[in-house]
C-alpha cells in the first residue's frame, strides 16, 4: 500500500489548533516545566535510593542476617535498638529481610524485563516488519504463551528444578517475552507504514538494515517506557509466587514470602504484612510514575 497524502482537512481542524502563546503566562509555563521535571526526577530518585539501600548499604553498614535470628530477640517492635524495623516471630531482623528481599525483587524484575525486551523485541520486530506467514506463525505462538497461565509453569519449574532465583527468572521470562513481542509488533506495524520506510525500501536498503536503522529507533522509546511498567508487573508477579510458596523458598527472604508469613499473624501484628507491602507499593509506584513520565517526555501513547 502506497503512502497516502496527509489529509489536509483534519490537520486544519479547529480543535487541533495549538493554544495561542499569548494566552499562557510565563509563570504558568514555568510551573508546567517544573512539574514535568519533578514527575521525572522524583520517581527516579526513589528508585536510585531503593537500589542504594538494597545493594550498597549492606556493604557500607553491617546489617543483621536476613535468614537467621535469635529466638531471644523475637517479635521486637519497630525502632528497637539494633533492629530498626523490629524482628519477626522467630527473631529475624525485618529491615535485613527487606534489604535482601529487595535485592531479589530488583534482580528478578530487571532480569526478566531485559530478557523480554531483547528476545520479545526481536520477535516483535520480525513479526511486525515482515508480516505474512512469519507474522501469522509468530503471532500464534505469542497468543498461546499469553493464554497459558503463569502459575502452572512456575510450579512446574519449582518442582522439576530446584526452586531458585535463576529458575524463577526463566519461568517469568516465558511471560515477559510474548508481552514485549506483542507490544513491539504493534508499534512496528505503525512505523512500517510511514513514508521514510517506503523510501528506504524503494532505494534498495536491506531488510535488516531498515529494521535496525529506521524501525528500531522509532519503536524503542515506547518499549522502554513500557518496560519500566513491565518491571513493576514482574515484581508484583514474583511477589505473588513467593506469596504462594512457589518462588523464593523459606529461609531466603523475599517480600512476597514476608507478606505470606505475616498473613498468619495478621490480626495480632499487622505490621509484618504492612512493612513489606508498603515497600513493594513504593517500588512499583516509582516504576509506574517513571514509565509515565518518560512516555510523556517522549510523546508516546
Amino acid at each position: 500500500m502506497a503512502a497516502q497524502l496527509p489529509d489536509l482537512t483534519t490537520t486544519l481542524a479547529p480543535g487541533a489548533a495549538p493554544p495561542l502563546p499569548s494566552l499562557v503566562s510565563a509563570r504558568h509555563l514555568r510551573n508546567q516545566r517544573v512539574g514535568r521535571a519533578l514527575r521525572l526526577w522524583v520517581p527516579a530518585a526513589i528508585l536510585v535510593a531503593l537500589f542504594f539501600l538494597c545493594f550498597i548499604w549492606p556493604y557500607v553498614y553491617t546489617i543483621p542476617s536476613g535468614t537467621v535470628g535469635s529466638i531471644l530477640a523475637a517479635q521486637e517492635p519497630p525502632f528497637s535498638p539494633g533492629h530498626w524495623l523490629g524482628t519477626d516471630p522467630v527473631g529475624v531482623d525485618v529491615f535485613a529481610m527487606l534489604v535482601y528481599g529487595g535485592q531479589v525483587a530488583f534482580e528478578v524484575g530487571f532480569a526478566v524485563t531485559a530478557i523480554g525486551l531483547v528476545i520479545g523485541g526481536l520477535i516483535g520486530l520480525a513479526a511486525g516488519y515482515f508480516g505474512g506467514w512469519t507474522d501469522t506463525i509468530l503471532s500464534r505462538i505469542i497468543d498461546v504463551l499469553i493464554a497459558f497461565p503463569a502459575l502452572v509453569l512456575a510450579l512446574a519449574v519449582a518442582e522439576v528444578l530446584q526452586p531458585s532465583e535463576l529458575h524463577l527468572i526463566w519461568a517469568l521470562s516465558v511471560f515477559s517475552v510474548p508481552a514485549f513481542a506483542r507490544v513491539t509488533r504493534g508499534s512496528t506495524l505503525v512505523v512500517r507504514q510511514l513514508p521514510f520506510i517506503q523510501a528506504a525500501r524503494l532505494s534498495g536498503t536491506r531488510s535488516w538494515r531498515i529494521i535496525l536503522k529506521h524501525v528500531l529507533p522509532n519503536v524503542i522509546p515506547g518499549i522502554i517506557s513500557f518496560s519500566l511498567i513491565g518491571v513493576g508487573i514482574v515484581v508484583i508477579l514474583e511477589g505473588a509466587l513467593d506469596f504462594l510458596g512457589l518462588g523464593i523458598q523459606q529461609p531466603k527472604p523475599s517480600w512476597g514470602g514476608m507478606i505470606a508469613r505475616g498473613q498468619t499473624v495478621l490480626t495480632a501484628t499487622p505490621e509484618y504484612v504492612l512493612i513489606p507491602s508498603i515497600v513493594l507499593l513504593i517500588f512499583v509506584m516509582a516504576l509506574n510514575l517513571l514509565g509515565d513520565a518518560l512516555r510523556e517526555r517522549w510523546g508516546v501513547r
Binding site: 493464554a147 495478621l266 499487622p270
Partner: protein, 345 residues
Amino acid sequence: MALAQQVQLQRDPGARSDIVRRVTGSPALQLVGRRLLTAIPVLLGVTFLTFVVMNLIPGNPARLILGINATPGQIEQTDIKLGLNHPFWDRYWLWLDGLLHGNLGIAYSNQQSVNTDLAQHLPVTCWLLLYTLVVSLGLGVIVAVLAARKPNGIADRLSLAVSMLGLSIAPYVLALVLIYVFAVKVQWFPAISNSLGGNPLQAIRALTLPAASIGFPLFAVYSRLLRADIVEQMQREDYIVTAKAKGVSPWRVLILHATRNSMFTLITLVALNLGTLIGAVAIIEPIFSLPGIGAELIGAIQINDLPLVEGIVVVFALVTVAGNLLADLLYAVLDPRIRYGRSTS
C-alpha cells in the same frame, strides 16, 4: 433460471466472486470465522503446553493417591485405571478426544469427574468475576467521565492519583489490607467464606472483599484508559466540534457523544483481558477460602493433579478465546464502518 446463472458465471468469473461475496458476505461474519480458525491452534497449543509441563513434574500420581504403603501391584492397577500406562502422545490424544466429547476426565485426587468438579466450583468464580467487572466498570466509567470533563482539574488529578495507587498495589496486598480493616477491625465483611451462603445478600457480603481486591487494579486501568480516550475525542474529533457549535450542552456532548464513542475501546479491552483474570482469581480466592476454580487450580497444581489442572486451564483458555471473539463482534456491531464493510484508512 439456474442454468442461465451457471452460464453467466462461466462467462464472467467476476460475477461468481460477487455472488460468493454476497453469500459469505458480511465482513463481520468473515471476521468471526477467521477468529474461530485462529482460536483452534491457540487452544491446542495451550492444552499441549500444560500437558507437557505437568508431565515434567516428577512423582507418580498413583503413588500420590494410594499413599506411601501402596504395593507395586496396586500402583500398577491404578496406573491402568487412570490411563497412565499409555505413552505420552496417546494420553494427550485420549484427553483431546474426551474434550471433544465434553468429557474432561477423572481427577487424580478425589477420583471424581473433572466435569462435576468444575460444575461445583465454577459458579463461585463466575459470580465473583461478574461482581468484579460490573463494579469496576461502573465506577471506572463514572470516574473517567468526571475526570475528562475538565482535564487537569481537581477531579482529574484526584482520579489520576487513585488510579496510580490501583496500578501499583499488588492484589494480594490489597486483599490483606482489606481483611485487616473491614473484617478484623470493623467486621463489616467476613474474612473467610467457605460458600456463598443461601441468600443473595450473604453472597454479596462474602464476595465484596475479594471482588474489591481484584477489581481495584482493574478499575484503575479502565478509568485511565477511558479518560485518555474521552479527552482525545473531545480535543480532536470533528463531530464534537459540530455538536458544540450546534449548541449541545457540554454534559450532553461529553456523555452522549464522546463517552459513547470511547466506550467501545474500553469494552474491547475488557473482553480481550477476560482470560488473564485467572491469575488474580487464583491468588485471591485461596486468601478468602472461596471455593472457586482459582483456589481449585492452586490446590490441583500442588498435588500434581493433571486432569484437574488441564480442565481449569481449558476453561480459561476458552474464556480468552471467547473474549477475543466478543471483542471482534463488538467492533463489528458497534462500528458501522466495519458492519457495512467500508474500508477504513
